[in-house]
Subunit: 326 residues, 4 copies
C-alpha cells in the first residue's frame, strides 16, 4: 500500500517521469505554522548536485495544495506536490527485453503483467522519497524543536574514516562503478513510553519505514549486530537516574519495543546504486540468452549521500506517528 | 497494537504468569487440514530444556478453540490457546523499586502508570511468542509444502564456528552471564511478485515482524550490512534465466521491495538475555541511588537458541500475509 | 475481518457450538477497575429466557484471561472468554442440502467451499455478540460514568405502543412465526468533536458496527429517514448557547460527521428472526427442486428483544474508539 | 482518516476554496483502460446546473497525475486532481461568530481550535465528493461491465411520485427553503460471497462509506426499516434455484453480511440542505445571545439531486473493495 501510519498517515504517489510526485498526510494537528519554504532545507539535503550524485537535477519546489490556511495547518489532510521537470524518457523498451540487474525492472513487469510505467524506474523511483522528506518536515514539527536529529554517513565502501569518503567515491566513479554506505541517525529528547510491546514496537515501526526506502538492506538499533557478539554483562545498560537515563546506550534508546528516554540510535545499510555504467551481464528475454549490458544515463555513484536525509525522514515519521498515538 | 497483518491477521494476548497466552488468526483460508499435533514440532523447537536455556519448562500444549471443524479450517477466525502452568510469581515489587537493566520493567511502569502486570515480564514476556510460532505453522501451510525454511544460528558471541557454540554458552553460564547470537532464515520457492514498492515492501513487512520479537536488535536481507561495503559491480545480481534466477543472490531474494523468486535470506541479531545472575548496577527509585542488583530465577543463557524458530515464524507469517494479498 | 477499531480494537472469535466464544480488546487504558461481575448486568440483558426469546439458555459466565492484574486493567490486551455449554449439535447436514431461507447457510457454504462449521450457524451465530457486549462494558467505563445510555425497543411488528408488544410477540409465537422491531439508543454527555469529516465520521463508525450485528437491516441518526421528508427550515437545529446546545436535535447529536455535544440518537431496524417453525419453501441442492422445510429447534420469536443491548454495545464501542482517537 | 478501503484504498484531500481537491487510489489492478474522458459522465451527474441545484458551477475537469501509462492503469497509485476555479471567498469570519445551524462550522472550530479553513465549508465541503465519484468510475471497471448500477431519487419531501418532484423543489426554492429526499441504488450481477461475518459485513462497509457522504442520515438494505415491521414468514426470502436466487429480495442481496447473488438494494436518506436563504436563529458567540441569521450565497435547494451519483459511488467503491478482497 502507498499509505503508512496510524495517527500520522502518509500517502505517496507518482512516477519518475510522470506529471508529479506527491504526498498527502492525514492526522497533522491543527495550528502548526507551515509554509513552502520550510521544506527547502531538507529537500536540499536530498538533492543531487554534489560529487557522487547524479547530474539529473530538479527544482524540487514543493506546492502545498491542501491543509494549510493562512500559514497554519488546519487539521485537514495536508497535501504537497512536486512537478517533474527534467525527464528524458527515451526508449524504455530495452528494460523489458533485458532488465537491469538488481533493479525492479523485471519484478515490476511480472507483478503488473507488463503494465507498469518503466520510464526511469516508474513508481519505484527514488524520486518518490520527496514525499517522505516533505512529510518528515512536518513530523519534526510534531516532535518539537528539542528533538534534534543528527544524521551522518558513517561508512562508505567499508571505510569509516570520513576524510577518505571523497576519494572512495571518485575511485568508484572513475571505474564506472558505484559504492554503498551506512547511515546513522541519532535523535535525542524523545519521550519515554513510545511504542507497544510486540507488533507495534518502536523498532518495528521505524524499521518498517526504513525498509521502504529504496536501497536499504539492513537496519540495526543501538549496537545492533554488535550486540549479538556481546555478553549480557557487556550489553546491559544500567539505569543511573530517576529519568531512566542509562550509563551506556547499547539498546539505542529502545527496550522491550518502548522508548526509554535515551538517545534513539539507528543505522541503515545502503547498498551501492544498482545502475552502473560499466558492462554487466543480464538475461535477454527475447533471445533467451544471457547478454552483456551497458546502462547509459545519469546515475548516483553513492546513493547513500542522498539517502541520509531520507533515512532521517523515515525515523522522524515513525516517531511522530508513535508520539501522536501515545 | 496486538494485531498484525492485512490478509493473514494475527492477534496475540496474555502475560507470562496470567492464565493463558493465546493467538487468534483471521484470514486463514478454509479447507486446510489442521490438528493440535501439527503445532508440536515447531513449539518443541521453541521450548526450553537444552543447554543454554532456562529450567522453567511448560507443556506448551496448544488448544484449538475456534476455527476448525472436523479437522479442517473453516475460514472463520482460528484461535489457539496455551495455559500457563509452571509459574512462580513471588514478589515482583522489587522490579518496581529497582528495575532490571535492559528489561522493559521501567518503561512498562512509565507507559502504564504502574498498572502493568510485572510478574515474569507480564505482557512483554517471550512466552507471548508461542502464539507467533503457532500462527507460523498455519502460515507455512498457506505457503505450501515446497516452501522450505532453513533456519540456523550462524553466530554466537561473535563466533561463527558452530562446533564452538556449546563451549561459549557454557562459559557464559559459568560466569553467570548470557551471550547473544545471529539467526539466519532462508526460504526457497517463494513466488515472484510478493510485496509492494515503498511502504509494504517485502522487507518492510518481514522486518516489522522480526523487530516484534523480543531481543532482536538488527535485521538484514541478503548481504545486508556487507552490501554497504561493496561496489555495485560486486553487489549486483545478474539475471541468468527466464525465471529470473540470478547468478548471485546478494539481494536475498528481494529487489525494489518485491520478491524475485530467488531464495529469501534474512538475518536477525539477537542480543544477549538481559537477565543475568551476576551482580549488576541499577537505580533504586525509592532511595534515589544507584544500587547493586542480583537477579534470581531461571534464565536462558543464550536466548538466540530458542529465538531461532520465532525468527522463522516472523518470516513465515509475513510471507503468508504477502501471499494472501497477492 | 474479525477485528474492528483503531484505538479500541475489538477482536472476536468462536462458533455457536464450538468450545468457546471470546473477545480480545486492544487499546484499553491502564488502571480501569474491572472484574468479572462487572459484565453480568449487560450480559443478562442479552440473555434468553423471557417471553419471545429462545429456550436455549447459557450461563454466559465471563472469564477474564488476560489484561487484568490485581483488579485493574494493565494496558495490555484484555481477553474475555465464554464457554459454550448448552449445545445440541444433531445433524446439520440438512442445512447444506436445503439451506434455511434468509440465513447465512448457503452463502457460508459458497464462500468457504463447504468447510464452514454449520452447527447452529457456526461463526455467524448471534452468540458471537457476547464479545461485543463484553467489550462495551469496558467501552462504557472509558466513556465515563456521566455518559448514560438509554436503549429501548420503540417498535415491534410496526406497533409503537409498548403496552401491546407482549401481545404481538405472543401472536407471532402462536402462529410459529417471528417478528421484527426497532431499537433506539440514546447517549448523553458525549464530548464535542468526536469523529472526522468523511470516512471516519461518527456516523460511519457507529453504523459500521451496527451493521455488524446480525439482523440489523437499517440504521438512522436523529430524524434519519424522516429528515428526508422535511424542509431545511424544519430540520435545521438552531444553536442556543455557548456549549453548542441546539433547540431541537434532528441531527441526533452529529453534524458534518462530528459530535456536537447534544444527545446521540440512533435507531436500528431489526428484521424478524429468520428461523421460524412454520413451513417454508427452499431449494434442495441435491434434488434440484424447491421443497418445503420445517425448522426444528429453539428460536427467538423477536430477536429485537435481545438485540437491544447489542445495539447499545455497538454504539458504545464506536464512541469509545472515537474518544480514544481524539 | 481521509483514507478508506483495504484492497481498493481511496484517499481524498482538499478544501472548497483551496487550490484543488484530489483523490489517490491504491490497489487499482494493472491493465485497466482509463482516460480522463471516462470520468465525465458520472462527474456530470454530480454537477450543479439544473433546477434545484446551486448556481456555482465548476468545470470539474479531472487530471490524471499518476498511475496511468499509455492509457492503462499501471498498478501504482492512481491520482486524479480537480482544480478549484469558481470560488468567492468573501468574509468567512461571520461563520466563526454566529455559526450556521446544522452545518459543521461550530464543531470544526471546536475540533481544530479555530485553525480550520472556514471558506465554503473548507474540508467539509461536498466538493470533496468529486474524488469519491472519480474513484467509483474505476471501481465500476473493477466490478465489470455486467454489474449495472441503477440509482434513483425515489422520494423528495415525502412525496414518492416523481412527477411531482419539480413542483416540490420549486415550492421550496420560492420559500427560500430546502428539501430532503431518498436515494435508492440497485446493483445487479454482484458475485456471491462478498463480505465477512460481523465487522466487515457487506452492509457494514457500504454503510460506512454512505455515512461518509455529507447529508446522509439514514441507510437501509432491502426492506430495511420495513423489515422491522414484518413477520418472519413475510420477510424471509425462499431460495428457488441452484444459483441462490430468491423468490423475493427483502434482504436486498445480503444475508449474514455476505452477498447472496441477488440484486443489492440500498437506500440513503438525504437531509435537506442546511444552507437556506430564509431567516434562521443561531447563537452569536461574541454577544453571547441568540440572533437571527440570513445566509447569503448560492445553495442547492435539494442536494439529494446531486447526491444520487455520490451514493452510487459509495456503493461501487465498497463493492470493489470487497471484490478485490475476495
Amino acid at each position: 500500500m502507498n499509505s503508512w501510519g496510524d495517527k500520522f498517515r502518509v500517502t505517496i504517489w507518482g512516477e519518475s517521469h510522470g506529471q508529479q510526485v506527491g504526498v498527502s498526510i492525514d492526522g497533522v494537528p491543527a495550528g502548526i505554522a507551515l509554509q513552502e519554504d520550510d521544506f527547502l532545507h531538507d529537500l536540499g539535503r536530498r538533492k543531487a548536485g554534489g560529487a557522487g550524485t547524479t547530474t539529473r537535477t530538479e527544482s524540487d519546489q514543493p506546492h502545498i495544495v491542501s491543509g494549510v490556511y493562512e500559514g497554519q495547518t488546519t487539521g485537514a489532510p495536508l497535501t504537497i506536490v512536486f512537478l517533474n521537470e527534467n525527464t528524458r524518457s527515451g526508449d524504455y523498451r530495452n528494460l523489458v527485453i533485458h532488465p537491469r540487474p538488481s533493479h525492479a525492472d523485471w519484478v515490476a513487469q511480472k507483478k503488473w503483467n507488463g503494465y507498469n510505467d518503466p520510464r526511469g524506474g516508474g513508481h519505484f523511483s527514488g524520486r518518490l522519497t520527496l514525499g517522505m522528506v516533505a512529510a518528515a518536515v512536518v513530523a519534526k514539527k510534531i516532535l518539537g524543536e528539542k528533538a534534534q536529529f543528527s544524521t551522518n554517513i558513517i561508512e562508505i565502501g567499508g571505510e569509516q574514516d570520513s576524510a577518505k569518503f571523497d576519494q572512495i567515491i571518485e575511485q568508484a566513479r572513475m571505474s564506472q562503478d558505484s559504492v554503498g554506505g551506512v547511515v546513522e541517525c541519532r535523535t535525542n529528547d524523545i519521550e519515554v513510553g513510545l511504542g507497544e510491546p510486540f507488533f507495534d514496537s518502536a523498532e518495528s515501526l521505524i524499521a518498517h519505514l526504513l525498509f521502504s526506502v529504496p536501497a536499504v538492506k539492513g537496519v540495526e538499533f543501538g549496537d545492533g549486530f554488535s550486540s549479538a557478539r556481546m555478553l549480557g554483562s557487556q550489553n546491559n545498560d544500567p539505569i543511573v537516574d530517576a529519568d531512566g537515563h542509562t550509563a551506556t546506550n547499547h539498546a539505542g534508546g529502545i527496550v522491550g519495543g518502548i522508548t526509554n528516554g535515551n538517545e534513539i540510535v539507528v543505522r541503515a545499510a545502503i547498498k551501492p546504486t544498482a545502475s552502473i555504467s560499466r558492462e554487466q551481464q543480464t538475461f535477454n528475454f527475447e533471445s533467451g540468452k544471457v547478454q552483456s549490458l551497458i546502462i547509459k544515463g545519469r546515475h548516483d555513484v553513492c546513493i547513500a549521500l542522498r539517502a541520509a536525509v531520507v533515512v532521517e525522514a523515515a525515523v522522524a515519521i515513525a516517531l511522530a506517528d508513535l508520539k501522536l498515538r501515545a
